[in-house]
């Protein structure tokens, strides 16, 4: 039995975070922390070294792609796999995200099953 991994969710929608946290934690395999403020999210990433980060794009204070770039530049966080979890679906954003070494690009709404699969996929690629 694996240890509980921490997942960090950065999304400005409190309600979205509410359900993602509950759905993921119900599996008993993850503990979820989240931030609705991008900068606070970056701090959480630095402090808690989560196993994976789920990152929204459209947020009022800072664009998720900027957050991604910032996290990938910081030595403390650059190794954490990041998955974009967003409603934005356009080629430009996907390209930018890919160039910043994001692991996956998931479009909302996503079923919990699909999300879980993607998370496992990323984690197994990491050898975890």
């Amino acid at each position: 039995m694996m240890a509980k991994g921490t997942i960090l969710l950065i999304d400005d929608e409190e309600d979205f975070c509410f359900f993602v946290k509950r759905n993921l934690e119900r599996t008993g395999r993850f503990s979820v922390i989240y931030a609705t403020d991008p900068d606070q999210g970056i701090n959480l990433a630095k402090r808690n070294s989560p196993e994976i980060i789920l990152l929204d794009i459209t947020m009022p204070k800072k664009d998720g792609l900027q957050v991604l770039a910032q996290l990938k530049k910081d030595k403390k966080t650059m190794a954490i796999p990041i998955m974009m979890l967003t409603a934005v679906e356009d080629d430009q954003s996907k390209l930018t995200a890919a160039r910043c070494y994001c692991e996956d690009y998931i479009i909302k709404p996503v079923t919990f099953e699909a999300l879980q699969d993607k998370i496992h996929e990323v984690l197994s690629r990491q050898g975890k």
Binding site: F19, N23, A87, E89
Partner: protein, 562 residues
């Protein structure tokens, strides 16, 4: 004595019936009309002594009927009845020529007295003239509306002139302002060997400038007759009727003259003939003026119509493009706005379903239904995004036949299920042109997919490619025709198919964006698309694309990408 003919116009059936009965009983010949436009129809095909009309009526008002009848036949008297009398309306009606004004509710006796008074006045006015003769004159005005050429117009005027005056021959002289003399002439005689006379035009010109119809009788005006007919035979009498544009300025507004000579009976013309000739000349002058105006007007109206048509066309195109472009922009924004709450709903349902974890089939069914609806909503968004993406093109050289082949292949399965046969006919193969391959593929696919949908019981999907050159610019044009033998569409239906979200398909089956996307892509290609359809017969979409894209379009293209 002939019965007086009265036309009663009122939109209230009760009043029509009341007047019809009372006036018929009093010995009048009565007809009724329920509105102004019906009344005008009747006026144009019948001669009435008088009209009794309501003022407020749908479509054509009583005032308009009054104005119109006075134009057609100024001798018809008009009595106006109204439930809403205003001084202004009364004054105006009398000005236009109404005989009297009666307020509703009216006294039948009052109406009868007024009718009597009115008919008396008419009789006095027309004491010289029989209504039947007037009829011929007024027929003239009516018929002139139908005359196609100037010649047929004069033929008509002369025929009437001979008819009412009893003359054997006559002529119309038209005044030419430029040369200040008579120009064109038209002559007419009742039979082959009717006597005709050659008039001295200078003398005639001098006479008609007096502006009055003249009855010239040989015994009395021998000198004038001799001057007018310098040589040859002399008739026993002549009628000279000037055609003037404005009776107050005869000299300046002279349009021509009507001259008739030699009564068939051998008699001289009478004062009565003179009066008829003068009425005729008045009418003819009006007709002449109208026809000149009409000619000019017609040209102007024609030109106006053309530009209005053009305007409408561009307007429609603009509206359509604008609509689509703004929907495209909106779509992108809306899609994300909706996806976020949709994500929450989905997360929420999934959460609830795990904590409830019930065996209750009803609850599970409810949850399944919610999930299904979420995915349906998301599919709409996917389509919307496709639509917004249609605005970006990548123009390359491509083979249109190959694309149609691909589309045919893509649609094969769907066609097979509907027992639809696919028939292809390419004028040239390959046919190279410039365009965005994936976009055009989408265009043809959307149209073909609709076509197959329109043939649920089987049919033929025909794919034709031809080439032609543009009529006005001479540029090479590639034409793709996609036809089906399906259910077809009504005209109104056709008008709406390019509107975003217009669909006749069952919920979940179509979003109504297919053809909007087609329209937008083709718009970006500077291509034309239209539809020809007949209900229960089938539909044909025709797409015309320039084979080589203009520099302008490519530039526009470049900007879009950048």
């Amino acid at each position: 004595m002939e019965k007086a003919k009265i036309l009663v116009i009122d939109d209230e059936a009760v009043i029509r019936q009341l007047l019809l009965r009372t006036l018929s009983d009093k010995g009048y010949e009565v007809e009724v009309a329920e509105d102004g436009s019906r009344a005008l129809e009747k006026i144009k095909s019948n001669v009435f002594n008088m009209l009794i009309t309501d003022l407020k009526m749908p479509k054509v008002s009583g005032m308009e009927v009054l104005a119109e009848i006075k134009k057609i036949n100024p001798y018809v008297e008009v009595i106006i009845i109204t439930g809403y009398p205003t001084i202004d309306a009364a004054v105006e009606a009398i000005k236009i020529g109404a005989f009297d004004f009666i307020c509703k509710p009216f006294d039948l006796l009052e109406i009868q007295t007024k009718i009597q008074l009115c008919l008396e006045r008419q009789k006095r006015n027309l004491s010289h003239i029989q209504v039947t003769e007037l009829t011929a004159l007024f027929d003239l005005t009516k018929a002139s509306i139908l005359a196609h050429s100037v010649e047929s117009l004069w033929e008509l005027i002369l025929t009437t002139a001979l008819e009412v005056s009893g003359a054997q021959s006559g002529s119309v002289f038209l005044w030419d302002k430029q040369t200040n003399s008579f120009g064109k002439k038209f002559g007419k005689k009742l039979w082959e060997d009717a006597p005709t006379f050659t008039l001295n035009e200078e003398v005639l010109a001098k006479e008609i400038k007096k502006g009055e119809t003249q009855l010239i009788i040989k015994e009395k005006d021998d000198k004038l007759i001799k001057e007018l007919l310098s040589d040859g035979e002399e008739p026993n009498s002549l009628l000279i009727a000037p055609l003037v544009g404005n009776p107050l300025h005869c000299e300046e507004s002279i349009l021509g003259a009507v001259v008739v000579s030699a009564k068939a009976s051998g008699d001289s013309f009478s004062e009565r003939d003179k009066m008829l000739a003068s009425i005729l000349a008045g009418q003819a002058a009006t007709i002449l003026r109208n026809s000149e105006l009409y000619g000019e007007l017609e040209k102007k109206v024609e030109a106006l119509k053309e530009s209005i048509d053009k305007l409408h066309e561009t307007q429609n195109q603009l509206i359509q493009t604008e609509k689509l472009a703004s929907v495209g922009q909106l779509a992108f924004g809306i899609a994300h706005e909706i996806r976020n709450p949709l994500g929450i709903v989905l997360g929420g349902v999934e959460y609830l379903s795990t904590i409830i974890k019930t065996e209750d089939s009803d609850t599970n069914e409810a949850i399944a239904k919610i999930k299904k609806s979420i995915s349906r909503a998301n599919n709409i968004i996917v389509d919307l995004l496709k639509f917004s993406r249609a605005s970006r093109l990548n123009i390359q050289e491509m083979d249109v036949c190959e694309i149609i082949d691909e589309v045919a292949l893509l649609i094969t399965n769907k066609a097979y299920f509907n027992s639809v046969k696919i028939e292809k006919s390419y004028q040239e193969d390959p046919l190279l042109m410039q365009g965005d391959v994936s976009m055009l593929r989408q265009v043809f696919f959307n149209i073909c997919s609709n076509a197959v949908d329109a043939m649920p019981k089987g049919g033929v999907l025909s794919l034709n490619i031809l080439k032609k050159s543009d009529e006005s610019t001479g540029e090479d044009v590639v034409v793709v025709e996609i036809g089906d033998t399906g259910m077809g569409m009504s005209k109104e239906h056709c008008l709406r198919i390019f509107d975003p979200f217009f669909t006749t398909k069952d919920p979940g089956k179509g979003t109504g964006l297919g053809l909007s996307i087609v329209h937008m892509i083709l718009e970006r290609h500077d291509a034309k698309v239209w539809v020809e359809s007949e209900e229960h017969k089938g539909t044909k979409f025709v797409i015309e694309m320039l084979q080589n894209k203009s520099v302008e379009l490519k530039n526009k293209e470049g900007n879009n990408d950048g």
